[in-house]
């Protein structure tokens, strides 16, 4: 029996080791690619700016679609910020997805909207809107009310109403920097291939000072959980996604802030209503549809347009969020499994799809099982103590290297933490994040995978406190010199 267990643990350890080597090799490659591309892009973005796009008639119009479900605390602030964005031609469509709170009423009262009748043309199947509201004096704003049908359905309604060739999905609880839309559009304007997706960075605003729907002073949050998430977000957005983008294999763009080509999305059938992460699914759908039709296209990810979001403050909320993300990732990779290792789909099919399927989606199960079984394998003497200690040390130090590299990247970009204190905290958490937080997240993700296989495919609602509720006292405006250097 003991021999059987020893063999079992040997096999498990071997699988964990292979997983570790493969993921480490890919992450190291992505790290070097990102260090190269992100720093160079930051130099260009910082010095050259995007001023000439802001007043060019050639810059395509954009529709900002804000799906809102029970967002009465944040919606007015978000819609106001969208109207204030620095962009030549834009319209803002807020889709109230059957909120049970006062989301629509807040909008109507604040913007003095009036109920109107509109001709609704359906390009993508979606629930019909019930009511339209607008204020003739704010021609760029439209509020649509419909029955609850989920975020995907709300986005599809927004697409049906949108008048621009591009639309940007924005979460109702997010804050977008004033120039972010322009920065997101820059790769589209500069590309001579049809750019169907342009994604930007999402950063955590917890701890930062907000004023009038803008982040005035960037600072680290107070709690360990939020700090770990800051490091994690920086790592994901500053070297994971730019790395894949450089390889021409973008697979994830956050729906909190993503620019999409309307025609391409309509051709792909719009956002799927049977997935919990419609943004990941949409990218895979677009890859699949455009490759199958033999179209030339491009997806880009840029590191200087920033969208600020609120991270979960407690483990319960974080668990819900991560389970949902993992479930969504599983749904996407399983639905589009024919792309995996299919050379027809280029770098996406040969590199990022297999990586996301086997390492990102299923890998967390191996990681979780490995983490659970390591002590047992030690107990059954399947693994010598020194080996166990060295493996753990290597895993932690390697994780720290990756996080440290992303902090280095964050400091090279436009939006860095200006205070040394925050920098020290950030550096400390590149280590602490690997001791506990990472393991917790792995278990939540593994739960998400289990949910997929047990057929529990429901959306777990993550309730944020809202920026307005948590806004700290408005800090003074940063001095012009600091602002220029930030």
């Amino acid at each position: 029996m003991r021999s059987l267990l020893v063999h079992f643990f040997d096999y498990v350890n071997a699988v964990v080791l292979v997983y570790f080597i493969v993921s480490a090799a890919v992450y190291t490659t992505l790290m070097f690619i990102s260090l190269y591309t992100v720093t160079l892009h930051s130099r260009i973005a910082r010095r050259l700016g995007y001023g000439n796009l802001g007043d060019s008639p050639v810059t395509p119009p954009v529709t900002l679609i804000i799906p809102a479900y029970n967002e009465e605390d944040a919606i007015v602030q978000t819609a106001s910020a969208m109207l204030e964005l620095n962009y030549p031609e834009k319209e803002v469509i807020v889709v109230d997805d059957g909120s049970t709170d006062h989301t629509a009423m807040r909008m109507v009262q604040h913007f003095k909207l009036q109920r109107v009748e509109r001709v609704y043309r359906e390009f993508i199947p979606a629930q019909r809107p019930l009511v339209f509201y607008l204020n003739p004096e704010i021609p760029g704003l439209l509020l649509v009310s419909k029955e609850n049908g989920g975020k995907s359905d709300a986005l599809n309604v927004g697409i049906n109403i949108a008048r621009s060739p591009y639309f940007c999905t924005v979460d109702a609880d997010s804050i977008i920097e004033k120039d972010a839309l322009l920065r997101l559009m820059a790769p589209v304007v500069h590309s001579n291939v049809n750019t169907v997706v342009s994604g930007g960075v999402v950063r955590i605003a917890n701890g930062s000072t907000m004023d009038k729907a803008m982040v005035r002073q960037i600072a680290m949050p107070k709690t360990w959980l939020e700090r770990c998430q800051v490091v994690e977000y920086i790592r994901t957005f500053l070297f994971g996604r730019p790395g894949w983008n450089s390889l021409g294999a973008t697979f994830i763009c956050s729906g909190a802030f993503c620019l999409l080509n309307k025609e391409a999305v309509i051709q792909a059938g719009g956002f799927s209503r049977d997935t919990v992460t419609e943004d990941i699914d949409m990218i895979a759908k677009l890859h699949r549809d455009l490759k199958e039709k033999g179209r030339k296209y491009r997806m880009v990810f840029t590191t200087d347009p920033v969208c600020w979001t609120e991270a979960p403050h407690d483990l319960g909320t974080l668990a819900k969020q991560r389970r949902r993300w993992q479930l969504g990732l599983m749904q996407t990779v399983m639905r589009h499994d024919k792309m995996i290792f299919n050379p027809r789909f280029g770098a996406t099919g040969m590199l990022s799809m297999p990586f996301h399927a086997y390492v990102e989606a299923l890998g967390c199960v191996i990681e979780a099982v490995g983490t659970l079984l390591l002590p047992f394998s030690l107990f059954f003497s399947s693994m010598p103590l020194w080996f166990f200690a060295m493996v753990i040390l290597l895993a932690v130090s390697y994780g720290t290297v990756l996080s440290m590299a992303s902090v280095l990247l964050a400091d090279a970009t436009v939006r860095r933490y200006p205070r040394y204190r925050d920098l020290w905290i950030l550096m400390a958490y590149t280590l602490f994040e690997n001791l506990g937080y990472r393991q917790i997240i792995t278990f939540y993700r593994a739960q998400g995978v289990l949910q997929y296989f047990t057929g529990k495919h429901k959306w777990e609602v993550v309730k944020h406190g809202g920026f307005a509720a948590r806004a700290q006292a408005a800090a003074p405006e940063p001095r012009p010199v600091e602002a220029a250097r930030a």
Binding site: S56, L134, T400, V401, V481
Partner: protein, 503 residues
């Protein structure tokens, strides 16, 4: 399998390596911060020290020799950047010319040119500062090491240097920019194109048109949108080099050229009055004779946007023809072009387009007619009140709501203006179910007797919202004229309103 000692040693080395890498990242981060902090400290000091002589020179209060004496030798990068930044704040053309001379003398121009052009820098700087006001010299290419030069790591410093050179006085900058168009890297060429647009120096137009031609015919990694963004910043008088391209054999080229001209006209019209006199006779002729009759529909469509600004009988005839075009996009652009007071005689043709089979054309026609107020608006109201075309009426009703014109309609009714026509429009809106805004506006009228009389006049089969409004009117004062409010709702058709319904 590997011996255990080997595995142990390997793991040990890996751990050591990762720790060293993590530590070096940390050191780089802190070193970078401290270097930047020192740099900005020195730069701030230099700016405080050198601001006055630079500003005096830029404003013309001091000459170059004395300014150079006051500046002294610039010792390090922070001081050089401080001077460049302060000089870069000049916006007036004269100040920009002075800035160029200053930066040339301080050695900035040479430094940037060396970064951008390497060993060719001296020759190009000489050409730039000797060729002021003359033709831009022929550019020459350097094909050596192009594979490496194309790499982003080498191209970004060149693009940044070119960015600085592009901000010199346009006469000087255009020489550098023209040379940069032969750079192997897209980053550098894109920046050159953008700077050409920002400077809008007329002699750059042929270079941009050549880039456009390459983008259309041969493939150019500088995008069409980038080139077009640069071209639209020029003035109409700079567009003479466009003329041969209006008859270019490639239809896409013809399209991009006429579309660029349309954008330039649009931009010029925003800045003030733009009339036919702004265009040369040759330009007018080629647009009216060739572009408006081009076999490619997109060229005809964009030509309408240019013809709009000619504002003469020939333009009227051309637009009249284009409004009947078989292609929907031509009709769409022509309808938009007619939304100008000069083209009021084309209102009947615009009304025809309100019933177009394509909704975009219908929408543009409705908008155009409303822009041509009061005549166009009045004609549209007449049409709306009498038409049985469901789609045209929906489009009109939607636009009346979106523009908030229902408020004006109700206000006019309240003041007794154009009562018959406006009542007919309101009646039609109600018949079509476009009730929300109308009811809101009716409920806002301060005088209840007016609300009652409107309700009576409109002969509502009232939806619940109207009932609610009327109840609200009646309930506070159950006696007198208010008492009749609800009763009025259920009256039968009034013979005197037949006129309103048959406008």
């Amino acid at each position: 399998m590997f011996p255990i000692e080997f595995v142990a040693a390997f793991l040990g080395w890996m751990i050591a390596l990762t720790l060293v890498v993590a530590a070096s990242f940390q050191v780089i981060l802190l070193w970078r911060r401290s270097v930047r902090a020192r740099y900005f400290q020195r730069k701030d000091g230099a700016m405080a020290r050198l601001a006055q002589p630079v500003e005096r020179f830029l404003s013309g209060a001091a000459d170059l020799a004395s300014t150079m004496r006051l500046l002294g030798p610039l010792r390090d990068e922070a001081e050089r950047d401080a001077v460049a930044e302060m000089a870069g704040r000049a916006h007036h053309p004269e100040a920009i010319a002075r800035r160029s001379r200053l930066l040339w003398r301080t050695g900035h121009v040479h430094r940037w040119a060396e970064a951008a052009f390497g060993r060719q820098a001296d020759a190009i700087v000489q050409a730039a500062f000797a060729q002021v006001g003359t033709q831009i010299p022929r550019v020459f290419a350097n094909a050596r090491m192009n594979v490496l030069r194309r790499r982003r790591i080498f191209a970004v410093p060149r693009a940044l240097a070119l960015h600085e050179l592009g901000r010199l006085a346009p006469a000087h900058a255009s020489v550098f920019l023209a040379h940069a168009l032969r750079d192997p890297s897209v980053y550098v060429r894109r920046r050159a194109v953008e700077c050409m647009g920002e400077n809008a120096y007329p002699e750059s137009v042929p270079y941009l048109l050549e880039e456009l031609r390459r983008a259309v015919e041969e493939g150019n990694d500088v995008s069409l949108r980038t080139i077009k963004s640069a071209l639209v910043r020029f003035r109409i008088v700079d567009m003479e080099p466009f003329l041969p391209f209006f008859r270019h054999p490639t239809q896409r080229m013809r399209f991009f050229v006429i579309d660029t001209l349309r954008e330039i006209c649009h931009r010029a019209a925003k800045g003030g009055l733009l009339g036919g006199s702004a265009f040369s006779a040759a330009m007018r002729q080629v647009v009216l004779e060739d572009c408006a009759r081009d076999e490619f529909a997109d060229v005809r469509a964009r030509a309408a946007g240019v013809i709009r600004h000619f504002q003469d009988a020939a333009a009227m005839r051309a637009l009249h023809t284009l409004l009947q075009d078989e292609n929907e996009y031509v009709r769409l652009h022509s309808v938009r072009a007619c939304a100008h007071i000069f083209y009021k005689p084309l209102i009947p043709e615009l009304l025809q387009r309100v019933t177009d089979v394509r909704w975009r054309v219908r929408e543009a026609a409705v908008k155009g007619l409303l822009d041509l107020a009061p005549q166009g608006q009045e004609q549209l109201y007449h049409f709306f009140a009498t038409s049985r075309d469901k789609y045209a009426c929906e489009q009109t009703a939607e636009e009346l709501e979106s523009r908030g014109l229902i408020r004006n309609l109700v206000a006019d009714l309240a003041q007794g203006r154009a009562v018959v026509l406006h009542l007919a429009v309101c009646r039609k809106l109600l018949d079509m179910g476009f009730t929300s805004m109308l009811i809101t506006e009716l409920s806002r009228i301060a005088r209840p007797e007016l609300q009652i009389s409107f309700t009576e006049a409109l002969q509502l089969a009232p939806p619940e919202e109207v009932m609610a409004v009327l109840r609200e009117v009646a309930e506070p004062h159950p006696e007198g004229e208010h008492a009749g409010a609800l009763q009025l709702l259920y009256r039968g058709p009034q013979p005197e309103l037949a006129e309103a319904r048959t406008v």
